[in-house]
């Protein structure tokens, strides 16, 4: 039998570079001393991305001359932490971990940019001992957690979701492990400008201009961005999707689908999905029909596009349903997906990700879990989260789906944070 602790360096390297997360690579190095010495540590720690300046200007206010108008960039990772192998009946824990703007690690709500969970005493989660799935990461620009009293303005700046990737400066071929000259590497940030246009920031290579460049092309404002199969993809509010090239050209990936009100991109099981969210407005009508009882008024719900009555006051928007499409890369179109099978999609503020019902250890998938302020309770600090079940075509707050609500907060006891 082969002694795998003595595996040649090139073979170890071949496997480790297939581990598509820095976290998995780090863990690979922790197996034994020979593996540790032959797989170099790429990054000084897994909390940060390399090659990136510590502070960025806001893309919608491109002024980097003044330190007050630049903001820290932080990377956070979404983990699904499974219970120890001998405790299979317990449920896993979904959590986002990353530094705050002062470089202190925090636990963040998986779907929120700003909401974090307090820990009142020092704690440690040892990832050596637990099976952990890396579900993805997100990047945020700004001072978080926001402290409304002491730091005004900072986070009220308009900031869309940001995606970051390392790429070859000329081709934007994203690292596939081939030993490319390091000098050619750059980091690229892609987001959506307040105008709805795409904005790109390149850094790390001397030819990079280290400023936000707005891509003028736009038919309708963009809704979402993501990195799929190593390429930066953006979708606009009609569902038209494009891939952004190194020369900042855009190339069509999928024709529009129209339909709903807000489009999200999410990768699931190797496929790119488009999630189309339909909103309706809660309307309060103040009209009085004259009988003095005021029963003509009330709260109504309308779908977008309804002609407003002059007495109506448009209130909060509420998600009413979702449609999901799969990218057909050859035909360049979105194909409607009737069932997600055992997949569960999560739509966060800065990151959309997916997991299988099997990994989540729940009986069924086929759901979209999303943030919705309508479900937030003004009495408690609970974040509003909703669940849409594709098969049942049912939408409800997270609390109506007990098997889903238990992955969030508080952490299960076996994590050892109690």
């Amino acid at each position: 039998m082969a002694d795998w602790s003595q595996l040649p360096k090139d073979l170890l390297h071949l496997i480790s570079q297939k581990l598509n997360s820095q976290f998995y690579q780090l863990r690979f190095r922790s197996v034994c001393s020979s593996w540790r010495s032959s797989t170099p540590q790429n990054h000084h720690n897994h909390h940060h991305h390399l090659n990136l300046p510590p502070k960025f200007p806001n893309p919608s206010n491109n002024d980097s001359t003044n330190d007050d108008s630049t903001f820290p960039l932080s990377k956070r990772t979404l983990f699904l932490i499974s219970p120890p192998p001998n405790q299979q009946t317990l449920h896993p824990w979904l959590i986002k971990i990353g530094p705050d703007s002062r470089d202190q690690s925090h636990l963040w709500h998986p779907l929120s940019r700003d909401k974090h969970f307090p820990l009142h005493f020092p704690n440690l989660i040892d990832f050596n001992q637990l099976p952990v799935i890396d579900l993805g990461c997100e990047f945020v620009i700004g001072n978080f957690p926001s402290q409304s009293s002491s730091l005004p303005l900072n986070n009220s700046l308009y900031m869309e979701k940001v995606v970051v990737f390392d790429a070859d400066a000329d081709t934007w071929q994203i690292g596939n492990g081939k030993a490319k000259a390091k000098a050619n590497r750059c980091s690229v940030l892609l987001t959506i400008h307040i105008s709805g246009k795409l904005a790109v920031f390149r850094c790390g290579d001397e030819r990079c201009d280290e400023r936000w460049t707005i891509i003028p092309e736009m038919l309708t404002p963009y809704d979402d961005v993501c990195v799929f199969n190593g390429r930066p993809v953006a979708v606009d509010s009609t569902g038209r999707a494009v891939v952004v090239g190194a020369d900042l050209s855009v190339e069509l990936v999928a024709e529009p689908v129209f339909g709903g009100d807000k489009k999200f991109l999410v990768e699931s099981d190797g496929e790119l999905l488009l999630v189309d969210k339909y909103l309706s407005c809660l309307v309060s009508c103040l009209r009085d029909d004259g009988d003095g009882e005021g029963d003509g008024g009330g709260v109504y719900e309308i779908e977008h596009g309804f002609a407003e009555c002059e007495f109506c006051e448009i209130g909060r928007e509420r998600a009413v349903r979702f449609h999901v499409f799969r990218l057909d890369q050859k035909e360049k179109k979105w194909v409607e997906v009737k069932s997600l099978e055992d997949r569960v999609l999560f739509l966060g503020e800065d990151c959309a990700f997916s997991a299988s019902a099997f990994d989540l250890r729940i009986g069924y998938g086929n759901c979209v879990i999303f943030r919705d302020d309508v479900y937030s309770d003004s009495q408690s600090s609970e974040l509003g989260v909703g669940v849409f079940h594709l098969g049942q075509f049912r939408i409800a707050p997270l609390s109506c789906f007990p098997c889903y609500s238990m992955f969030f907060w508080p952490p299960p006891e076996w994590v050892g944070l109690h």
């Binding site: 602790s5 581990l19 001393s33 005493f121 001992q129 952990v132």
Partner: protein, 176 residues
């Protein structure tokens, strides 16, 4: 009976890309089982091909002491698909389903020994997928590796892999 054999031979040769090409190559597994393959298959295995080239094609029986007769058919199957240009996601998924952890590791070493780049690349992905989200202890068991770190090194590892939360800062408490 003889007819049956020859018709089987015919159906076999149809699947080959070029049945009229030169003599078949015999690959001899570590446990002395002979596998006859078309020269095109041998071409996929760089180690075998360079052996043939070195002897100007005079030697067509190649011993492969490091590869068992259990693993060799998998390697040949993959090479056949590769030549036919039929390495699809579906094929790979089916191929992986058949393999247990031990076989994946053995085939990985076989692919390395035979220098079949595509197969090696594919199997390294399979291994990566199988260990990605597992604990370090699981990965050690998977590969039969002993933990040889000193307590000091172990402490350093823990630091690298763990998240330390310092708790709430006094400033944060002022928030409300």
């Amino acid at each position: 009976m003889a007819e049956e054999v020859s018709s089987q031979m015919n159906s076999l040769s149809i699947s080959e890309t070029n049945p009229s090409s030169s003599a078949t190559i015999s690959l001899v597994s570590g446990d002395d089982i002979v596998f006859k393959v078309e020269p095109t298959i041998a071409k996929e295995m760089e180690t075998v091909q360079s052996f043939i080239d070195e002897t100007d094609g005079k030697i067509t029986t190649i011993p492969l002491p490091n590869i068992s007769s259990h693993d060799l058919p998998y390697v040949i199957e993959y090479c056949e698909k590769s030549i036919a240009g039929k390495i699809t996601k579906e094929f790979e998924a089916e191929f992986v389903k058949k393999l247990n952890n031990e076989e994946v590791k053995e085939l990985f070493l076989a692919a390395n020994y035979l220098n079949i780049k595509k197969l090696l690349d594919f199997l390294s992905q399979v291994i990566a997928d199988r260990i990605a989200n597992k604990s370090v202890e699981y990965v050690r068991r998977y590969f039969g590796i002993e933990n040889d770190f000193t307590p000091e090194e172990e402490a350093k590892l823990r630091e690298e892999l763990a998240w330390t939360f310092t708790g709430v800062d006094p400033d944060d408490e002022d928030e409300n």
